[in-house]
């Protein structure tokens, strides 16, 4: 347990990969979720983008953005408190979380403009 907590500390290099892993999980969720939703609850094409599918994908995306943004801020602040190796780890992690946050925002933009399942 102590090791797990130590590894979750924002200066641990494990955070180099957590942000983009979350991005990947979000990406697979929206891509796979969209495919499954189209099989299970295909919306009427007349509805345009105002469908339950778009809404669910948007909620998942906003949740991912929120989580990643929090981690970005956390790592950035942690980087200011340390020097040397720990500062390096926290700063790179903050950058990677920021990129992941922006990556979700950018790749989720089509949800606002493209109807699903077409």
């Amino acid at each position: 347990m102590a090791i797990a907590i130590q590894r979750l500390h924002l200066t641990h290099p494990l955070h180099f990969v957590i942000g983009l892993t979350l991005w990947s999980a979000w990406f697979v969720t929206v891509y796979g979720g969209h495919a499954v939703a189209c099989e299970v609850i295909p919306p009427d094409p007349e509805q345009g983008v105002f469908t339950l599918v778009n809404a669910m994908l948007l909620v998942v995306s906003l949740a991912a953005v929120g989580l990643l943004a929090m981690l970005t801020v956390g790592c950035y602040r942690m980087g200011k408190r340390h020097e040397g190796r720990l500062r390096f780890n926290a700063r790179v992690s903050a950058g990677l979380y920021l990129f992941s946050t922006l990556g979700v925002l950018f790749a989720a933009m089509p949800i606002l403009g493209i109807p699903p399942c077409l």
Partner: protein, 845 residues
């Protein structure tokens, strides 16, 4: 193991550096004659990988010239359509699988230990197995050309074209079996490079002080570990379809040909970055040296490497924009494809800033780096164009895509590779290349390349589809094709000149001075050419620029003034360090030269050939023999007399890794399980994909699998894993009472689980040739059986090793490694039960 009957020379003793060198040579030196086949040393094997890769490059290059000859003029009948298809397929296959990846792996295998201050890679016998699998697999695939049975469905083997109905010969089988064989090599290198970089850096080399090249190779190796298994699964499924009629990709049987595309590109797109990242690592290594200053933004480069590695796994569908995927899904992949340009652009700006702020010297390697920058940036821009769905539809399957791909791969991999080879040539040979011949080689290649492929963009925009063996005059493609063909031959002349320069320099090159490019890298502290053990003593490195900060390092290392300058114990030793801080944790002792990797690879080659020729009983026998060889290999480990019979170390030194609970074997098993997990996730993807998307999928009303049987099997497996955990816990407390009996009991439980699972499989009476549902269930249960059997055998072996005294409280390491496999088996078994037996009962069809 070598034993030297001489007193220990204490570290720092400068009286006997020659004696120390001689002792180390006795332990690490390479044998000659037939025994040279047993060499496991990374320097020798890295060179073998690179030389073999260059041979395959020449074969692939000659195939390219045949293609260009055929396409030079309209209505050519230089080749028949079938031969043309074989030549183009083999050109792509050879270049991607037998040249690009192996030669970069070879470079990494050669360079990484020298850069991080280690004496070898952490699993030397695995390096050797990887090389032999690569060589034998490559020969098998190439042999298909000679007998005119080469694969002819394109290098990505799309189904149904590659299925038995449309490709009835052995061509597709050569590809599927041969490539899978070669992939053993890639995965071996991937696993050991990851573990070596994380656990064997020299004392003091913390993660943020690591050479950038090591960061790139770490990312590449992890990508190999995660990226290759989907293709291995796809190849196995397609070969099962071709050989046994299981309809995974056949719509009539409930399969879906698009599943192949998903599995292929899940591998295929990361593959592009697997090739690009090490090449970019060469660029990030060379530019600071020739600019004479540290790289601008080390942290930014690390950021870019990690980002590229991840995002590259989210792009695979952009190869499939025309197969009918919904627009919203295409938009996700279009956006992700544009995202990957960001880390790439960061690296380009870092390189430019370093050159801008430094004083660049335009030596021969830098010419190739500049060539890379020009070509790769152009390739990257056309890549962003292709990420846009409407443009992608427009140029899909045209020569525009062929041109883009060559700009990215030749510009992004070949140019940096040649830069790197020129740069490290003095290290390989102790001699300098010819600037004159080298410059001629560069300019001919650069001009030839752009003449071929810049023009090819126009050919594609004019509508010429790829993979057509000829075209009629008057289509508007005549002149551009002719120019491309002329350019191809100019490029060939340039490459010939480069190879001539490299060959001649071994004989006529000027002897190189120490650190001839005034580099900062630790690799230049080696002898030129290097000794088999790299460093006489292992230095403490706490800087990113060891040779700039301490130019005396080559001398002090050679004089044995640093750590582990001891050889009298006869072991091959190096530091095992903390992956984050670089603090020394233990002494890693490595195995010596061995026949087992060669024998195992030969047995696997027999498996490959007998599957090709449909001699299944012979294949089964060869599998058993290969497993026996591998188990015999694993026997010579830990406290075995051939590995490290006693735990004696010099006063003040840390313990041997085999006497701890956290040796590199544990890390290697974890990374292997990551690869295994990627394979398993790909399998689950296939199951759910067919279930939800395949138009002809037929889910039976009632699951054919006995849920009770599976629950009992899972319970037995979980019980065995629980007991094993208890045994490992006891070993951590230095208790080993009842260890042997415990391991035998665990093994027995493993075999019981295998027996019950086998009963479930047989009693299900699956119609594997009629329904993809039944076929994919069979594959899932076979996976569980294979893993259960392996877990049981390894536990049995551990019981025997306890009896021989190789495992116990004094050497507690190995059961912890086996426990990792058991944990994995328990997790995957229950997921299989949930996915194959429970979910269909809950959700239905």
């Amino acid at each position: 193991m070598t034993t030297i009957d001489r007193d220990v020379s204490p570290p720092g003793d400068q009286r006997h550096p020659d004696q120390l060198h001689s002792d180390l040579n006795e332990i690490w030196g390479n044998p000659r004659g037939l025994k040279a086949l047993t060499i496991v040393n990374h320097t020798t094997l890295g060179l073998r990988f690179m030389i073999t890769g260059m041979v395959f490059f020449l074969i692939g290059g000659m195939l390219a010239m045949l293609v260009r000859t055929q396409l030079a003029l309209p209505d050519q009948d230089f080749m028949t359509p079938d031969i043309y298809n074989q030549v183009t397929t083999m050109h792509g296959t050879v270049m991607m699988f037998l040249f690009a990846i192996p030669i970069l792996e070879g470079l990494a295998i050669y360079m990484i230990p020298k850069m991080i201050g280690a004496r070898d890679l952490v699993c030397p016998r695995l390096t050797s197995l990887g090389y032999w699998c690569y060589l034998f697999g490559g020969i098998i695939i190439t042999f298909s050309l000679i007998i005119e049975m080469a694969p002819n469905s394109g290098w990505f083997m799309y189904t149904p074209l590659s299925s038995s109905e449309y490709s009835p010969g052995l061509g597709s089988d050569f590809w599927l079996l041969g490539i899978t064989f070669v992939e053993i090599s890639a995965l071996s290198a991937g696993v050991e490079l990851v573990v070596s970089i994380l656990r064997t850096r020299t004392q003091g080399m913390a993660l943020h002080k690591m050479p950038l090249f090591a960061w790139y190779i770490l990312a590449m190796a992890m990508m190999i570990v995660l990226g290759f298994p989907p293709l291995i699964l796809g190849s196995i499924l397609l070969e099962l379809e071709r050989a046994a009629g299981m309809p995974f990709f056949d719509v009539a049987g409930g399969g879906d040909p698009i599943l192949w595309q998903h599995l292929f590109w899940l591998f295929g797109h990361p593959e592009v970055y697997i090739i690009f990242l090490p090449a970019a690592g060469i660029v990030s290594t060379l530019i600071p040296v020739f600019a004479g200053r540290p790289i601008v933004g080390y942290g930014w480069v690390v950021f870019a490497i990690i980002t590229t590695g991840f995002i590259s796994f989210g792009l695979w569908v952009h190869h499939m924009f025309t197969v009918g995927i919904p627009q919203l899904a295409q938009a996700f992949f279009s956006a992700a494809s544009m995202l990957v340009a960001v880390p790439t652009a960061i690296q380009v700006f870092v390189w430019l800033a370093t050159l801008w702020l430094g004083k660049p010297k335009m030596k021969l390697p830098m010419l190739w780096i500049v060539g890379f920058l020009v070509i790769f940036v152009c390739g990257g821009l056309t890549g962003v164009m292709l990420a846009l769905v409407p443009f992608n539809w427009q140029v899909h399957d045209t020569h525009f895509v062929v041109a883009h791909m060559h700009y990215v791969l030749v510009g992004g991999m070949f140019f940096p590779l040649i830069a790197g080879l020129y740069y490290w040539l003095p290290l390989f040979s102790g001699r300098m290349p010819s600037e004159t011949l080298g410059k001629w080689g560069f300019w001919l290649t650069f001009i030839g390349f752009n003449t071929t492929f810049l023009i090819m963009h126009w050919t594609g925009l004019l509508g010429m589809p790829r993979r057509v063996y000829s075209y009629e005059p008057g289509m508007g493609w005549d002149i551009t094709n002719l120019i491309s063909s002329v350019g191809g031959f100019i490029m060939s002349a340039g490459i010939a000149m480069v190879l001539l320069d490299m060959a001649l320099h071994f004989r006529f090159g000027k002897p190189a001075k120490t650190n001839p490019w005034h580099s900062d890298g630790l690799e230049w502290a080696n002898r030129m050419p290097p000794s088999a053990y790299n460093f006489v003593s292992l230095p403490n490195i706490e800087t990113r620029h060891p040779l700039w900060d301490d130019p005396e390092l080559p001398r002090t290392i050679a004089e044995g003034q640093h750590g582990l300058a001891v050889a009298t114990h006869g072991r091959r030793e190096m530091w095992g360090t903390d992956p984050l801080t670089g603090k020394v944790r233990e002494i890693i002792h490595l195995p010596g030269n061995s026949w087992w990797p060669l024998f195992a690879a030969m047995a696997l080659a027999v498996v490959c050939l007998s599957l090709l020729t449909r001699l299944y009983p012979l294949a089964a026998i060869a599998v058993v023999i290969a497993v026996l060889f591998l188990l015999r290999w694993s026997w010579e480990n830990g406290a075995h007399p051939k590995a490290a019979p006693d735990a004696q170390v010099a006063p003040g030194d840390p313990p041997l890794h085999s006497r701890t609970m956290d040796g590199p074997g544990l890390w290697a098993m974890s990374i292997t399980m990551l690869a295994n997990g990627s394979f398993f996730l790909s399998y689950l993807f296939g199951w759910f994909y067919l279930w939800t998307v395949s138009p002809g999928w037929r889910m039976p009303d009632e699951s054919p699998l006995s849920l009770v049987g599976l629950l009992v099997a899972g319970g037995v497996l979980t019980l065995g894993a629980g007991i094993l955990e208890k045994q490992v816990h006891g070993l951590r407390q230095k208790r080993d009472a009842g260890l042997a009996i415990g391991m035998f009991g665990i093994s027995a439980l493993g075999f019981v689980q295998v027996g019950i699972t086998l009963w479930v499989l047989l009693s299900a009476e699956l119609a594997v040739t009629e329904s993809s549902h039944d076929a994919i269930i069979m594959v899932g249960l076979a996976y569980a059986l294979l893993h259960g059997g392996l877990g049981a055998v390894l536990a049995l072996l551990q019981g025997l090793r306890v009896g021989f005294g190789y495992v116990g409280a004094h050497a507690p390491f190995e059961p912890a490694v086996v426990a990792q496999l058991w944990r994995y088996n328990v997790a995957t078994f229950w997921i299989i039960v949930g996915a194959l037996a429970v979910l269909p009962r809950v959700i239905g069809s």
